[in-house]
Symmetry: C2
Subunit: 339 residues, 2 copies
């Protein structure tokens, strides 16, 4: 009886750590949310003219009609170019304290402008080219005027507008959130077992907080962890996890080797394939891999099933989004004909 | 006075031919419009998993957030492949009696399934592969069941659903339509002069009817015209119009050489660049080219300006479209990791 009591106490205590999404989305003081910024940001987010040849928009790889990404191993940029990392989900990215797989961007604002001039993503030459293109679209001039004042088309404000739209991309009312908010029928038995297991196995040492990506970090502060921690297993070889050294690739500091930002669990069921290189096709295998590489644990088939059921319960409701009408340039095109 | 009377009579007579968009959209008897088909068709239209590597949806090239196409000379399909023809607008395509530049599809239903298995467009191997992929998405099984009954995921019904969605893509209330419907202030002086000019110059010999693409044709019946009719000019050389022989490329019948379906004028201001090969960047130049190649007429600068003003008045209101939530496959992806 005593052990049962202790177990109950422990598990309640553990569950108490799990949190539903808060009502307020973290927002920097110098970029308050306004309707006109949301609208401008949404329009930019869907506009393929932010890419060199007019084929790739933010939404191409961070598809808000799906899991906030593209269900591909790695994304395809302009001219069929592919990088080495899988697109992270844009859903609830506003709750992440850093952005990109290696957490190199300290804010949504900083992240949003990165892919636009990345040669293998959207391929614009520089922000001079980006702002010149936007300035030649009368509709954008009006929208920037309204959001940021006169002559405000610049890199910083493009980032601010897109980040503001992204702060609306929150998926609430997942079965898990309903459960935490008091509806005890929202989760089935398997998911409830999985909920306990992720604590007991040790997953929630890192996957904690409202976004299951760490807790107590300030915006801009990264929750970095070594992946793989336990490298001497077949998974690491099979999936070539260590071909990419994470933050080290950016900083070239030895301490940063294999360091990665802890990704969110929310909507993880919608974002296959998995890991930074998109090498793992299913969520069940991703769970097996994580237990082995991070906790040196071999999960049983039933445990994997229960944890997957719990992770499925973190799929939230996607907000309704009206497709924007892109402001156009009647009678001409901004895309070079030879592209 | 007599000449003025005659002129007034003629021009009223001419204007009487011009028509606003009718309330009813032509719909085949065997594909009645239903809400569930519209929803399914919209979802398919936006779903990049209809392409081999999950990057290209119908909307990629026929962007309903813009002019119903991509403002590119020729579209970009999977693996950065490009064909020889510019994407026609999907707006009001329901009023065209044939589809594709060469009119080779007799219906929206027939057109909609073409690009999916075209190797340089969406690149699916065949419809076996397409239907297998859709059948593995539980959400689509439900949607097809609701729209067409049990076991109904097949090529024909994919075409029917997309065509049904396309029948909702109508742009009403253009300044021109408002004018025709009685609001005489809807058009400015330049547009009104342009409206007369297109009759006087002879453009409306072909560009007539509710969609300015021919009148009196039954669905499936093509309004084909020779382009260029007058080939002995610099435009034809400069823009390489005759490198592509139109319907002939399909039929290899000599009579079909240089034969093309008459395209719509509606929203033409939003669909630069122009012509089958997307070789002409501006609408003004397109007007000059057409007058010369089809009517052997050299327009004056002011005439071009007035005709462009009239064509601009044919830009309608784009309907509000809610981005669909694509039905997903939780915990896995349908796209091969090596793509």
């Amino acid at each position: 009886m005593k052990s049962l009591l202790i177990f109950t106490f422990l598990s309640l205590n553990s569950f108490a750590k799990m949190q539903s999404l808060p009502k307020l989305v973290p927002t920097p003081k110098d970029n308050k949310i306004t309707n006109s910024k949301i609208h401008l940001g949404k329009t930019l987010f869907f506009d393929p003219r932010l890419s060199s040849n007019g084929t790739i928009s933010c939404n191409s790889c961070h598809n808000v009609m799906a899991g906030g990404e593209d269900n591909r191993s790695v994304s395809v940029g302009v001219l069929n170019q592919r990088g080495g990392r899988s697109a992270p989900t844009v859903w609830n990215a506003a709750f992440q304290t850093t952005q990109f797989w290696d957490g190199r961007a300290a804010s949504l604002e900083a992240q949003a402008v990165g892919p636009i001039t990345n040669p293998i993503e959207m391929g614009m030459k520089d922000f001079k080219q980006v702002t010149e293109r936007l300035k030649s679209i009368p509709g954008y001039v009006k929208m920037f005027n309204k959001s940021f004042g006169k002559n405000s088309i610049n890199k910083k404000n493009i980032g601010k507008a897109i980040a503001t739209f992204e702060r609306t991309l929150i998926t609430r009312n997942s079965p898990f959130d309903k459960y935490i908010n008091g509806n005890k029928k929202a989760l089935g038995k398997s998911a409830l077992r999985g909920m306990k297991l992720v604590e007991e196995v040790g997953c929630t040492a890192c996957h904690t907080g409202v976004n299951f990506s760490g807790e107590g970090f300030k915006m801009g502060e990264g929750n970095f962890q070594k992946f793989p921690t336990f490298a001497n297993n077949n998974f690491v070889k099979k999936y070539k996890f260590s071909n990419d050294l994470g933050l080290y690739e950016q900083t070239k500091q030895d301490d940063d080797k294999n360091m990665w930002r802890v990704p969110t669990w929310r909507n993880v069921a919608l974002t296959a394939p998995y890991f930074h290189n998109g090498s793992v096709k299913t969520l069940a295998e991703a769970v097996r891999v994580m237990a082995k590489t991070q906790l040196d644990t071999d999960l049983k088939a039933k445990q994997v099933k229960d944890i997957v059921a719990f992770l499925n319960s973190l799929t939230g409701q996607l907000p309704k989004i009206t497709a924007p009408h892109l402001p156009l340039t009647p009678g001409t095109t901004l895309i070079k004909l030879e592209y």
